[in-house]
């Protein structure tokens, strides 16, 4: 009733103080509804997968190979594969990403080239994941003859995660107050010593947040590894970086679209393990960030 009389007032006297207040209430209500529409699915998705998937999770599910055409057994090789791919991605993207962040925040002059680097980073962030897959196929699998392998997949994923790592790490490094650098240089440290002993330790939590967020993306992506690293099924674990591998996201794709008559609990169980893997990393990053903010020395 209250809403209706409010609406009537707005209709009759659109500019009276009462209807201005009513409009605001109505508007805030709409904004709130939009926020609820955004938030509810997130919570619902996570809860739903937890509830449906938890029954499938057992020690055996996590440590055995799939059997009987994926319809029985566990997802061990997919978990190991995603772990290998994530580690491999970190090996390439972390040094390169932090190096680029140091360059942009400590060395780069404010000129056209630096702007070009920034535009390139923004573009790398926007390139569709499947295009990274094509690129990885063209450069790593075929041109460098790495074949469908963990190495080719990790290299492809590294380039994809680079923009996330660079931009978060740069922000963290820039947040270190200029006075820290000035004092370090003034007591005789070189530029690199200042970076290594002062700037990097101070910005480490922020850099780690960026690294984890980047790797989280890599762990959950399917399209870039479709043609570069992932295989449908492997009867054994990969022996070397040049072997192909199974991976959690690709495995979930396979068992939810390619295998008819797949038991539902294995599907939800796989989705749950993937979500825990990815959101767990996200949670760690959030905790590092908030703890670092609380303990900051400036």
């Amino acid at each position: 009733m209250d809403i209706i009389s409010g609406l009537r007032e707005i209709y009759k006297n659109p500019n009276s103080p009462a209807s201005r207040k009513n409009k605001q209430k109505l508007g805030f209500g709409l904004l709130f509804i939009a926020t609820v529409i955004t938030i509810i699915p997130i919570v619902a998705i996570i809860l739903f997968i937890f509830i449906k998937g938890i029954s499938a999770i057992s020690w055996e599910f996590l440590t055995t190979f799939p059997s009987n055409g994926m319809k029985e057994g566990g997802i061990y090789p997919a978990i190991v594969g995603t772990f290998y791919l994530t580690i491999g991605t970190a090996l390439f993207s972390v040094p390169l990403g932090i190096g680029a962040a140091i360059y942009l925040s400590e060395y780069a002059p404010d000129n056209r080239w630096t702007r070009a680097i920034r535009i390139a980073i923004i573009n790398l962030a926007g390139i569709p994941s499947v295009v990274y897959g094509l690129f990885g196929l063209g450069l790593f699998v075929i041109f460098f003859k790495l074949g469908t392998s963990i190495l080719a997949g990790a290299l492809t994923l590294s380039i994809m995660t680079l923009p996330v790592i660079i931009s978060t790490a740069e922000e963290a490094i820039r947040a270190v107050p200029q006075s820290f650098r000035v004092i370090s240089i003034s007591v005789g440290a070189t530029r690199w010593q200042t970076i290594r002993r002062i700037v990097l330790p101070q910005s480490l939590p922020g850099i780690m947040t960026g690294v984890i967020l980047g790797l989280e993306r890599a762990a959950g992506e399917t399209a870039p590894i479709l043609f570069t690293a992932a295989v449908f099924f492997l009867p054994r674990l990969p022996n070397s970086p040049l072997d192909p591998t199974m991976a959690l996201p690709y495995h979930l794709f396979v068992i939810s679209t390619q295998v008819p008559g797949m038991p539902i609990d294995i599907q939800y169980g796989t989705a749950l393990v993937l979500i825990i893997f990815v959101l767990g990393m996200n949670l760690i990053a959030t905790i590092i960030r908030s703890r670092a903010r609380a303990h900051r020395q400036w």
């Binding site: 926020t35 190096g99 926007g126 569709p128 295009v131 399209a223």
Partner: protein, 298 residues
Amino acid sequence: METTKNWNEFILKWLIKFSGYSAIIFVILIFYFLLLAGLPTIREVSLSNLLSTQWYPIENYFGLLPLIGGTIIVTFGAAMFAIPIGLCTAVYISEVSPQSARNYLKPLVEALGGIPSVVLGFLGIMILAPNLRLLLDLPTGLSALAGSILLAGIAIPTIVSIAEDALDSVPRSYRDGALALGATEWQTIWRVTFPAARSGVLTAIMLGIGRAIGETMAVMMITGNAAVLPIKLNSLFHPVRTMTATIAAEMGEVAKNSTHYHVLFFIGLLLFIVSLGINIAASTAMFRQRKRAERILS
């Protein structure tokens, strides 16, 4: 002793500089490899074939229009959901919600951005598609509409995150000025704060749409993958097939250097150019806003 230190510093500086420039190198490499494998298309397939409405690669029909149309209709549908909901959520988080809620709301929305698209695709198959089919009485729930809804879920976190940053960076004094002149908070938001943040909001929308265009796995799993030109009004309720999904679904089965292989890379090249355009436009909008803010505040 002194010279080795200088040498180390010299080498490190160049490594760091190289990392900085790596982003440019990678963008150029990606472009080069897409051109290398994509351009033979122009020699091998006639323009009238490429612009036809039939995509039957096995019989050498390479009409791209159904795929481009599929991408457009799914992205358009996603934008219809994601832009209003995303912007309203951003305004609510930045301008209306209490500070304590803000600290939880934004990480929660960003967590949705972290959920792997293959998980969203999986839930789409399990929950969204069957319910849409029942609700709208369709022959199949795997449709452009289902794809649009999922893509909206993927674009919303991007839109909320960037638009909220833009609104948050509008100086406090703008709002105080408007409120002091007697405007309500509601009027202040839409006549002062929101217009002041409009380049950032525009960037948010463009990057959100960019993510929707480039999304692969979720779309491939849920749109039904029928390469039919969506020209009728009710196309939204029928299966479609997007450019990204076509690459992901077919690249695994084509022979290297066949015409089909070249055409798939050509589609990748088109996607790359579109994302380049969107991201360059978005970043110039962002640079412009920063310059304007500096001018006003100086």
